[in-house]
């Protein structure tokens, strides 16, 4: 039985998108801080574009990891991973659109009452700012539009190419069988992991760390990466729950769900560990140019910043600790939804304070735009899932996965 998007699901997706759009527009038109509106809207577009792109990249990474580590159990959920990673195409388009806007508007600044340029996303794109700033001038070898775009195009070329390759060979394997394609996937996955290992750090420097252009941290790339990996696992879990609820994926049993639950549990720890490592070292050393990043967040975003960390750390840790919870659909769905909100807030914390200073808020603009992007994401992923059988055929480890029991 092939998967089809039901009429009800289509209706829900469209409703969510329309409600989101209305909320967003109402938020924009009833907004009473016109001087910050532009920054707020553009940073929201950046947050949601990146958040959903990261989910697809996390899934693509995990898919490659399964090939490269010759993992058996995950074959039964392989098509779901392919579905989630298929969004990389749309993610690339939305992210590039935001970048294009920012490039043409020199970082998306607003002119305030005194004639100053404020509220940039990328301060370093505005030559007025760079002229008076020795630190930005020092970084201009890395932070300039040409390099930014060149690198961005390379990143997306790599991700799209490898996504298409994995998907193509996966479908081809269904028809042809044999082990030739499997070993090709193994080799390509290893190559992808190397490229991703480097670029996943550098793109976070280019795209996000450069928002706080004066600030720097060597751990930044790995920290952002752990968050994207986790959210990808969470989305995969939710999708599997949905598909199983519709009677699909009958070969995905409790043990598969348990394993995926363990990944979510472990990656929540990894993320918290990296958050703590970066934060603690800067807080402890207390050096001005470093700790300013955190001080600013303590002072202006206390509740969001700490709330985000505490929820993302403690909820998965406490709830998913037990074996039973990792096999219980209801508990898993609730925890997964909390993590999605928590990690969207993490991305919000990465971007908004750098763009809007102390004026960042979470309201119906944020909620509305998130809903619009989320419904687009869900539709695209479900649509990919309709295009191929949900259970791969002829994968050499298929039998291991079908008989998976822990």
């Amino acid at each position: 039985m092939e998967f089809q998007i039901s009429g009800k699901a289509k209706k829900s997706i469209i409703t969510a998108a329309v409600v989101g759009l209305i909320l967003f527009l109402v938020g924009v038109f009833t907004n009473n801080e016109p001087e910050y509106l532009k920054s707020r809207v553009i940073s929201n577009f950046l947050i949601d574009s990146l958040f959903f792109l990261f989910i697809s990249l996390g899934a693509l990474f995990f898919l490659a990891l399964q090939y490269a580590t010759e993992t058996g159990w995950s074959v039964a959920i392989k098509r779901v991973l392919e579905g989630v990673s298929s969004y990389v195409i749309i993610g690339a388009i939305t992210v590039c659109a935001v970048f294009a806007y920012l490039s043409f508007t020199d970082g998306g600044y607003t002119v305030n009452d005194h004639g100053h340029h404020v509220g940039h996303v990328y301060e370093w794109m505005d030559h007025h700012m760079v002229e008076n700033d020795a630190i930005l001038q020092g970084k201009s070898g890395f932070l300039n539009k040409t390099f930014f775009w060149g690198a961005t195009i390379v990143y997306f070329a790599i991700y799209l190419l490898f996504y298409r390759g994995f998907r193509k060979r996966s479908l081809q394997e269904d028809l042809e069988g044999g082990t030739k394609l499997h070993f090709k996937n193994f080799a390509k996955a290893a190559l992808f992991l190397v490229l991703f290992g480097y670029t996943s750090s550098t793109f976070t420097w280019h795209w996000i760390m450069s928002i706080d252009a004066h600030w720097f941290s060597t751990l930044y790339g790995w920290y952002v990466f752990s968050g994207m990996w986790l959210t990808a696992m969470v989305c995969t879990m939710l999708l599997i729950m949905y598909l199983k609820g519709k009677g699909h994926l009958e070969k995905v049993n409790d043990s598969h769900i348990h394993d995926l639950g363990k990944w979510i549990f472990a990656l929540s720890f990894l993320w918290s560990y990296l958050f703590f490592s970066q934060f603690m070292l800067y807080w402890y050393a207390n050096m001005g140019e470093e700790v300013v990043y955190y001080l600013f967040r303590f002072e202006n975003y206390k509740v969001i910043f700490w709330g985000m960390f505490i929820i993302n750390f403690t909820i998965p840790m406490l709830i998913l600790m037990s074996r039973e919870a990792k096999r219980h659909a209801g508990i898993l769905i609730v925890v997964c939804l909390i993590i999605i909100v928590g990690h969207w807030t993490d991305v919000y914390m990465l971007i908004t304070p750098g763009v809007m200073g102390e004026h960042g808020k979470i309201g119906i603009i944020e909620l509305g735009l998130f809903l619009v992007f989320a419904s687009g994401f869900v539709f695209w992923v479900l649509n990919t899932l309709t295009k191929a059988p949900l259970m791969p055929k002829n994968h050499p480890y298929l039998d291991e996965s079908k008989h998976h029991e822990i």
């Binding site: 060597t218 363990k262 990296l274």
Partner: protein
């Protein structure tokens, strides 16, 4: 039932039985040690004793016997400490993290890797102790009340966190290792002939009886300890990295240190495991259990962790420029081009470039090349710590106090001595302890043993009585199957072949239900026409094929019914 794909390589080569595994592991414990063991043990003991002598000299004379000076206040001592802690990382990673990842290949190496971990942590712990200078007040590092003479310890200091982290790690690793040893000690106890050995191993095995209850508890404890040990693997080296990263010294203070130290520790730990096991498997004739595939897996771990370390080096290098902090930039410039450029080059070549050879399948499956690279990595990781520690401080903010570090004979003696002591422990372990986890290796024999994977195990064991009857049963079953297909052929030849396309509803024949219809279809009977041609002999044939409801078809006279139905449908 677990399945293992045919394309996975076997983990136990050749044909081994459960008994063979016990024999192979116990041989070295029960037999005499070879001459080579005595030679190696003698050398290790002499080197170790020399190290102990150097330590006593240091304690008697003072820290001034080291080559430290007022600029370079930390050098070989802390380098050796971090090097040994790093080596002590792989064991618990193999036993805990790989257990959670269900990597079966770990079973051949976990015991020895854990032993290595414990001895390496012993060696590591030595350095902070002797570095205190006054070893007799070593208890001051513990949070005890002031009446004992100490000042209350500084909980803000990462050095104190180290004390807690490493002692916790050591305790858990030790318990984990020992729990795994219990059933194997019991095996040796049960086989021991001399009363002394029997007595010793029965004490060591804690009265293990092999009851189901013992096994059940054993498995629960292993899993719980694995769960506890996994965060510990991360915590230990993260906290070691805090010793440096919490400071404000350029080159030390950087956020990537915790995860990058963990990756580096796993990297160096696996290199040491390779060095030790490549010798051990040859010396103790365990080539069937620790073979090319295991070496290949470990080489891949080395390649991955080495590359992570490489990414971290490059990230640090980039950020030292990107940060715009001139001190930070200078620290790295000085590392790469200053007076210690050779140490930096050595580190980069050994840690970043040499693991990249493992991309080639030929090289990572070559035992000799692996041994060579493992030594290179061990050296490289020592240099990494030396580079981080010494080159970051030897040219500090004040050029008038810039200096170099030159080790004295005491520095060298203590370092070499710890290597000797480590091997003393390790050789004793290899002689008296089961170096393979006997009971664990047995659990994978049937799923990952070569002879079981390719089916030749049946030939090997056919003289064993139980298996023999089993084989006979299989043969009888096969006969039946063959017999059946012959009968079906003769039946179909008499009544004519049918097909799905002109299928009639056989359920209309009274006495044929949906189940029986399916059975008939599976034989190849689809239409009334076929049924109508059946006579007594065909009924008997059908009964002997299906084996159910004998005589029913005849009683209900299916052929007549089918003829009628045929006429009706026409």
């Amino acid at each position: 039932m677990h399945k293992e794909s045919a394309i996975r390589e076997p983990l136990i080569l050749g044909h081994k039985t459960y008994h063979d595994i016990t024999e192979d592991v116990c041989r070295s414990i029960e037999g005499k040690a070879p001459k080579a063991w005595y030679i190696m043990f003698g050398i290790a003991l002499i080197v170790g004793l020399y190290g102990v002598g150097c330590i006593l000299y240091l304690l008697g004379t003072g820290i001034g016997t080291w080559g430290l000076n007022k600029t370079v206040e930390w050098a070989w001592d802390i380098t050796n400490f971090v090097w040994w802690v790093g080596i002590g990382h792989a064991g618990t990673l193999i036993s805990a993290v790989l257990l959670l990842f269900r990597q079966k290949w770990r079973m051949a190496i976990n015991r020895s890797a854990e032993a290595m971990t414990i001895f390496a942590v012993f060696m590591a712990g030595l350095f902070p102790l002797i570095h205190m200078g006054r070893l007799w007040v070593g208890y001051w590092v513990l949070p005890i009340p002031n009446q004992f003479g100490s000042l209350w310890v500084n909980f803000n200091s990462p050095l104190l966190w180290d004390v807690f982290a490493i002692s916790t790690y050591l305790s858990v690793s030790l318990v984990f290792w020992y729990i795994g040893l219990l059933p194997d000690f019991a095996t040796i106890r049960d086989r021991a002939k001399s009363p002394v050995a029997k007595r010793v191993y029965s004490v060591l095995s804690f009265g293990w009886s092999g009851r189901a209850k013992h096994w059940s508890r054993f498995e629960i404890v292993s899993l719980v300890l694995a769960g506890l040990a996994t965060p510990l693997v991360f915590s230990v080296h993260s906290i070691v990295s805090f010793d440096f990263a919490t400071s404000v010294i350029p080159g030390w203070h950087t956020t990537i240190f915790p995860p990058y130290f963990v990756a580096g520790a796993v990297f160096s730990g696996f290199a040491m495991v390779q060095t030790l096991l490549l010798v051990l498997r040859k010396g103790m004739k365990l080539e069937a259990y620790i073979h090319t595939k295991h070496v290949e897996y470990m080489n891949i771990v080395i390649m991955v962790t080495g590359s992570m370390v490489g990414v971290a080096y490059l990230t640090e290098l980039f950020m030292s420029w990107y940060s715009g902090v001139e001190y930070e930039a200078y620290a790295f410039l000085n590392r790469a081009t200053g007076p210690y450029w050779w140490a930096y080059t050595c580190m980069m070549t050994a840690n970043v470039l040499s693991p990249q050879f493992m991309w080639f399948k030929k090289l990572r499956r070559s035992l000799l090349f692996t041994f060579f690279i493992s030594i290179i990595v061990n050296i490289g990781m020592w240099f990494e710590r030396f580079v981080i520690i010494v080159t970051s401080i030897h040219q500090d903010y004040l050029p008038s106090s810039w200096s170099m570090f030159y080790p004295t004979w005491v520095d060298i003696g203590i370092y070499i001595g710890t290597i000797g002591l480590f091997f003393v422990f390790y050789l004793l372990y290899a002689r008296y302890f089961p170096v393979l986890a006997i009971s664990e290796v047995k659990t994978i024999l049937k799923s990952s043993g070569e002879s079981y994977k390719n089916g030749s195990a049946e030939i090997h064991t056919s003289h064993s009585k139980i298996v023999h009857t089993e084989m006979e049963e299989v043969a009888v079953e096969e006969e039946i199957v063959e017999d059946k297909s012959e009968k079906i052929n003769s039946l179909i030849s008499k009544i004519g072949a049918g097909s799905m396309d002109n299928k009639d509803d056989l359920k209309l024949i009274s006495g044929v239900g949906p189940v029986l219809e399916k059975t008939l279809n599976s034989i190849g009977i689809y239409s009334f026409e076929q049924v109508s041609k059946m006579t007594k002999s065909e009924y008997d044939l059908l009964d002997s094929i299906t084996g159910s409801f004998p005589g029913r078809a005849e009683r209900d006279d299916w052929a007549a019914q089918a003829k009628e139905l045929m006429n009706k449908t026409k």
